[in-house]
């Protein structure tokens, strides 16, 4: 084989540090009229102060670098967890372009989703025509087994009547009479992606289980919630199989967002089979793995399906123990030795690594359910949660997080900030620094500004590949969390000791 001829190519990483570009930037300043360097420096220092923090926390009207997405993104994510289901959004097309891009960037996977492309005329006359033609085109082109409708702001502000529109589409023959078309109201100005997930899941379940109440089928339903770790879905199925529990994962996105490459593009690469989802009404129990992203759905299941329900988020050792104990009680099946061994290995990892986490102070930013799990895990390792910022958290979450912190002596410094954003967190990191920061890819700006090492856990993760393939739930998830946290501490330690006597090979 002919040897490869390589050429030295400089891209932006090196190119713009070259002298001729530095000179160009200097020349350009004449036209930019920037502030004097001293002024910039002065303001930069001021933003690190208590005084600035107070001003920052006094703001009520502007959000700066918030950590949340909007409802329809959660709705689409949920819909993509059902077999043969096309997420169908009644609204303006730009929104769907954004939802698809956002999810594509996180998972590095394709996602099909449809918009009805509402524009000015629809804003004035209503979106009926868009819905009718949209359903007809989508059904003809993409042959879905279910069209899961959610809305964007425009359809909600003008008050489109989805129920009547879907009925009209059936009457006109645009879609078959028996095609399930659940719909959820999901404007961006209410809640966040976690409420959108909840609304869509409730809509889908209530639609496809209608009239399906029958004999108990002995299964357990699992609702993962707005969980963007595909590794979690596979891990949960593996654990339930080991335990011999017949189960249905409701909104199973594992194959949708992590499908094998076979040289074939599948619009619907996986998801919960619709027949299984319809039969979920006859399950023995439903367990949600997240609370705040499943509030309405779980209430609906408890009341309407008259089913035993539980919320058991299996992140960290104690939470995972609680999950298995409850599952064992529900199913009458003992927790097998294999899982007990996994627990032992996870605890072993924690014990071996504890010295690098004990007493370390942590800041967190993310979604409510993930934060609760992570705070608990960090305290189990002897870490100290300090700043907990949750843009889409509510008062109930604030109380629950405070109660969790109160359970451990390591939680005494922890303070929870709901409805706050990453610019608030920036002030906190300057006025009361911590050792480690846990957050999504956007938190890297905090890493850059404050020097706090970042452990990337959460959503979205745009700038690191494949993290979402690893579970954070269960005992295996504990090992992954230990890995990410401890090795970030060690990377930082190596960086800091690079030119000292403490630069060790063995840690």
């Amino acid at each position: 084989m002919k040897a490869m001829k390589l050429m030295q190519v400089k891209d932006h990483n090196d190119l713009f540090r070259e002298q001729e570009y530095l000179e160009q930037f200097e020349r350009k300043r004449e036209f930019e009229r920037p502030w004097p360097a001293e002024t910039v420096q002065e303001v930069a220092e001021w933003t690190k102060t208590e005084e600035y923090k107070e001003k920052n926390f006094a703001r009520q009207h502007i959000k700066i670098n918030p950590a949340k997405a909007c409802q329809p993104l959660g709705a689409i994510f949920c819909a993509a967890g059902f077999a043969g289901t096309m997420p169908f959004v009644q609204g303006a097309q730009g929104c769907v372009a954004y939802f698809r891009s956002h999810l594509n960037r996180h998972f590095k996977e394709p996602l099909a989703a449809i918009s009805t492309s509402m524009t000015e005329d629809a804003a004035v006359f209503g979106g009926l025509n868009n819905m009718l033609e949209g359903l007809e085109n989508a059904y003809a082109l993409y042959k879905p087994k279910m069209l899961a409708v959610s809305t964007t702001c425009i359809a909600e502000v003008i008050g489109d009547d989805l129920n009547a529109y879907v009925k009209a589409a059936r009457d006109k023959g645009a879609i078959p009479k028996d095609l399930p078309v659940p719909f959820a109201h999901t404007p961006s100005f209410v809640g966040s992606q976690i409420t959108g997930y909840d609304n869509q899941l409730k809509a889908i379940l209530s639609t496809i289980t209608a009239g399906k109440k029958g004999e108990p089928n002995g299964t357990v339903n699992i609702i993962p919630g707005f969980d963007t770790y595909t590794g979690d879905y596979r891990e949960m199925k593996r654990l339930l199989d080991i335990m011999g529990v017949k189960h249905t994962i409701l909104a199973d996105v594992s194959d949708t967002f992590d499908s094998p490459n076979t040289g074939e593009y599948k619009l619907y690469p996986g998801g919960t089979p619709l027949a299984g989802a319809a039969d979920s009404i006859n399950a023995r129990a439903t367990i949600a793995l997240q609370k705040y992203s499943t509030l309405k759905t779980m209430e609906y299941i408890r009341k309407e399906w008259e089913q035993k329900t539980a919320v058991l988020p299996p992140i960290g050792i104690k939470n995972t123990d609680a999950f298995f104990e409850a599952l064992s009680a529900i199913t009458g099946k003992p927790v097998p030795r294999e899982i007990e061994d996994e627990r032992g290995r996870a605890v072993d990892a924690m014990v071996d690594s504890h010295a690098y986490v004990h007493g370390k102070r942590f800041a967190f930013v993310g979604d409510p359910d993930l934060l609760l799990g992570l705070i608990g895990f960090v305290m189990e390792m002897g870490g100290v949660p300090v700043h907990i910022v949750c843009t889409n958290g509510d008062r109930k979450f604030e109380e629950e997080a405070a109660a969790l912190l109160a359970e451990s002596p390591f939680g005494s410094e922890g303070k929870v900030y709901v409805n706050k954003d990453m610019w608030h967190l920036r002030s906190l990191l300057f006025t009361d620094p911590v050792d480690l920061l846990i957050g999504n890819s956007y938190a890297k700006f905090l890493w850059r500004d404050t020097g706090t090492p970042l452990v990337r856990i959460g959503f979205p993760l745009f700038d690191r590949h494949h993290l979402h393939r690893y579970p954070v739930i269960g005992y295996q998830g504990v090992i992954n969390l230990v890995n990410w946290v401890v090795n970030t501490v060690l990377d930082e330690m190596d960086r800091k000791t690079m030119h000292t006597t403490s630069f060790d090979v063995i840690r």
Binding site: H12, E32, I64, Q93, C95, R100, T116, E136, A140, F445
Partner: protein
Amino acid sequence: MSTAIKDTQKMIEEVLEAYPEKAKKDRAKHLAANDPSGQCSACQVKSNIKSRPGVMTVRGCAYAGAKGVVWGPVKDQITVSHGPIGCGQYSWWSRRNYYNGQTGIDTFGAMQFTTDFQEKDIVYGGDKGLDAALHELKELFPLAKGIGILSECPVGLIGDDIEAVAKKVQKEFKMPIVPVRCEGFRGVSQSLGHHIANDTIKDHVLGTGQLDTSTPYDVALIGDYNIGGDAWASRKILEEMGLRVIAQWTGDASVNEMGIAHKAKLNLIHCYRSMNYICRHMEEEYGIPWVEFNFFGPTKIYESIRKIASLFDDTVKEKAEQLIAKYKPLMDEVIATYRPKLEGRKVMLYVGGLRPRHTIGAYEDLGMEVVASGYEFGHSDDYKRTYPEMKEGAVIMDDATLYELEELTRRLRPDMVGSGIKEKYSYHKLGVPFRQMHSWDYSGPYHGFDGFPVFARDMDMTVNSPTWSLIRRKK
């Protein structure tokens, strides 16, 4: 009609078979076989028309055009996404409009500012909250040189008067407060957002900046968003030609540069689609001529340099020739290295403003052929500029759907596809080499002499990655 055109038209008809009648009739107007002469009427595509509902368009919205392209990249002003959380969040630092400056202190590009509308704002209106938000921004970011208010769908629907708020606050702050009516439901794509945003530059910023000295060589570089540093690579060429770039729009742009462009002797426009409006305005209002140029790949770069130089005196013309002579050996080396690996490969493009036509020459420099090209939000003037760039019978597509892209790919069998993030991973599953031609897959620059080696390297790594051959295709 030639055989090549007939064959392509037949293929297009096959692809369209899957659509219901109404959608088929509409989509037939947007797909055509190329006639480079532009004579064949059946070969002209319709464009800038509303997408059909339910067909999975790749397009975005007016807000995306105004925020992601025109106003978002301006570095020393704050851009507020006014309305609910989503739009600002999803457009947050996704386009890599590189800039110099201290983020959060005197520059604000990589940040997301939003009024985060809640239900009460929809019911009672968001004007008061906006006024208060602007005051909070002024207090927290005293070095901001201006604030842009980019309205999202609900703001327009509930009839808020953001212009009144902006006017009031502008008087107080004595800096541009720019209301941009770019609600996503306006128009049919990003394109209207560009136009609206251009109009607000004209109304609020143009003519307000300070420039102490003037030279006959003052030019403005318009319509380069500095993705991966593109504008800097372009600027380097212009400066080496002896020109003085007094304003760079809008990648790495400052409010002052936006305010002094009217003092340029010539406007140089790269992305015609997004910024021709302001160039036309400056021509009418200030008598500034404008010229389009293309800095992708040596052939087009040489052509463009000579075209630009021809509008100046002999000093510039001489420098232009020296410049070409200086870089030609490097360009020849790039071609000698990469052309053998790429010769004869077929490319399919589906992108935004300028790339569906501007990059064709760069591919051809590497021996590659663009067999299909199309725009998400092009207008007829874009297509007119594209027909002559492509071979007879190549596919021209407007507002293509995911279904069409996939079907055309099956039939045309391109060796690589260049499109955006929403298309990228479905092509990966199909086993078709793919490169993002909006973001350069986080590489770049691709413009200018410094950009071409990066472009060539990236196309080689795309087409010739051994990973494609690992895919076990089902028989």
